[in-house]
């Protein structure tokens, strides 16, 4: 029987949650790396016991951990993230030039074909790659040094590269997203990059249709339809059907289209999930009601999913990497909150159960479906 392993990164450590395929009864591990911020953990899709974890701290900086036994044991690997050449500057919040400075890794994306190859999305925004299981890292500097790079400005959370999407049908295609620069795509395995922000409209920047400067919060893709991308922007939910060349707004009847998390059903590429958040000034659900919204037609028409979720006095947030899906026949949907709750829907969002209410603030969730 299949089982599920959730990799949960929190403000105070990592937790591994496991269940059988029924997804009703869960085991919660002891904290891994207690006291550290775990921005993201992710498994190799072809070696499920190979896990990578980004562990960081304001005191001690960045550590990257690797497990080869599904998270039972971990070993630190290389944590040296050095920008290529003379890094130069990007824009600071006030528009003045500011030197590129590595702060942390927000997201780790293992290769679809090689467990020793993994990408790391960093703050200040840069993409790094390891081909030796994390033993060394090198920057794919064509991204940061593309002609728009010196004009990138940080969002409230920093100038962070938080989304990395690998195309399962084209090993040369990589899509990344950066707050608050926008989305970028490489079609030559990371050598060169171009902004893919046409169709985005951001009212809070001087030119709302600028080539870069959009605060993209997250992008999701169903591997069956790699040209179709769904984006939760700062405000606006968007989709693209040409790998980001053009974006169309699909917020439709959402009560608010601000938010962070977005994901796609594993078997229904037009079924999309978002968690609307009241506004960029008030990072909690509307009216104290925690609601996931689902569109079964790829956007515009959304239905609230509330069964099992708190419908009063709920003021948590769901961060950009804190939603995941499994690949069981009845697709499981998961999300974690800044209040430490982890919710599971074993039926595609129709109903929800809290796996736990009591973790530290959840930063990220990844779901592994194990044979």
């Amino acid at each position: 029987m299949s089982s599920i392993r959730l990799l949960v990164g929190t403000k105070k450590g990592a937790f591994i949650l496991t269940s059988d395929g029924v997804r009703k009864s869960w085991n919660i591990s002891q904290p891994h790396f207690p006291g550290w911020e775990l921005y993201h953990l992710k498994a190799s899709p072809i070696d499920p016991n190979r896990l990578y974890a980004s562990q960081s701290s304001g005191w001690f900086g960045q550590v990257i951990q690797r497990s080869d036994d599904g998270g039972l044991t971990w070993n630190p690997v290389d944590n040296k993230f050095t920008y290529d050449g003379v890094p130069g500057t990007h824009q600071w919040y006030d528009g003045t030039p500011h030197p590129w400075e590595f702060k942390r890794v927000w997201h780790l994306e293992p290769s679809l074909t090689d467990p020793d190859t993994v990408f790391a999305g960093a703050e200040d925004a840069a993409l790094f790659k390891s081909t030796d299981g994390g033993a060394s890292w090198h920057e794919l500097s064509g991204l940061r040094t593309n002609r728009t790079g010196p004009g990138w400005q940080p969002g409230a959370g920093g100038l962070c590269l938080h989304t990395i999407i690998l195309d399962p049908t084209n090993e040369n295609r990589i899509v990344v997203a950066i707050s608050a620069a926008g989305a970028f795509r490489s079609d030559d395995a990371g050598l060169s990059w171009k902004p893919i922000n046409k169709g985005l409209w951001s009212k809070y920047i001087p030119d709302p249709t600028a080539e870069v400067g959009h605060c993209v919060h997250h992008i999701a893709m169903n591997p069956r339809t790699p040209n179709t991308l769904f984006m939760q922007k700062h405000w606006d939910v968007m989709r693209s059907d040409d790998a980001g060349d053009q974006w169309t707004k699909i917020s439709g009847n959402l009560p608010t289209d601000f938010g962070f998390a977005i994901d796609v059903h594993s078997h229904q590429p037009e079924t999309v999930y978002v968690v609307p958040i009241k506004s960029d000034s008030e990072h909690f659900p509307l009216d104290g009601k925690l609601q996931v919204f689902r569109s079964k037609i790829g956007g515009n028409e959304w239905e609230p999913l509330t069964k099992g979720l708190p419908q009063k006095d709920c003021y948590v947030n769901v961060l950009r990497d804190a939603m995941a899906v499994d690949t069981l026949d009845d697709c499981g949907i998961y999300f974690g909150t800044t209040g430490g709750q982890v919710y599971c829907s074993p039926d595609g969002g129709d109903s929800w159960n809290a796996i736990t209410h009591d973790l530290p603030a959840v930063l990220s969730i990844e779901a592994q479906t194990l044979a």
Binding site: W36, F60, N79
Partner: protein, 101 residues
Amino acid sequence: MPLIRIELPLHLRRLANISGHETTLDVPTPVTLAQTLDTLEALYPQLRGTIRDHVTLERRAFLRFFANMEDITHQPTCAPLPATILEGKEPLIILGAIAGG
């Protein structure tokens, strides 16, 4: 070589798999802060980058160094450590500054 006692914050002891509050290092002379950190990082490579920057070797902002209960953070890293440290009577303390609540 002098046997130097070093006290590390809990998180770094865990990262380096150091049991107890201290570790001891054979540090080549002259025993300076820089030489001691070089030796520490050579013995525990997982600590590289967590106490000082990989490239510039500058101290991470929220860490401080104490010897004989005195803050030596801003002394030159090439200055000799006090005799009590060299004699093993006192540990060199690497301390995480308390910041935030």
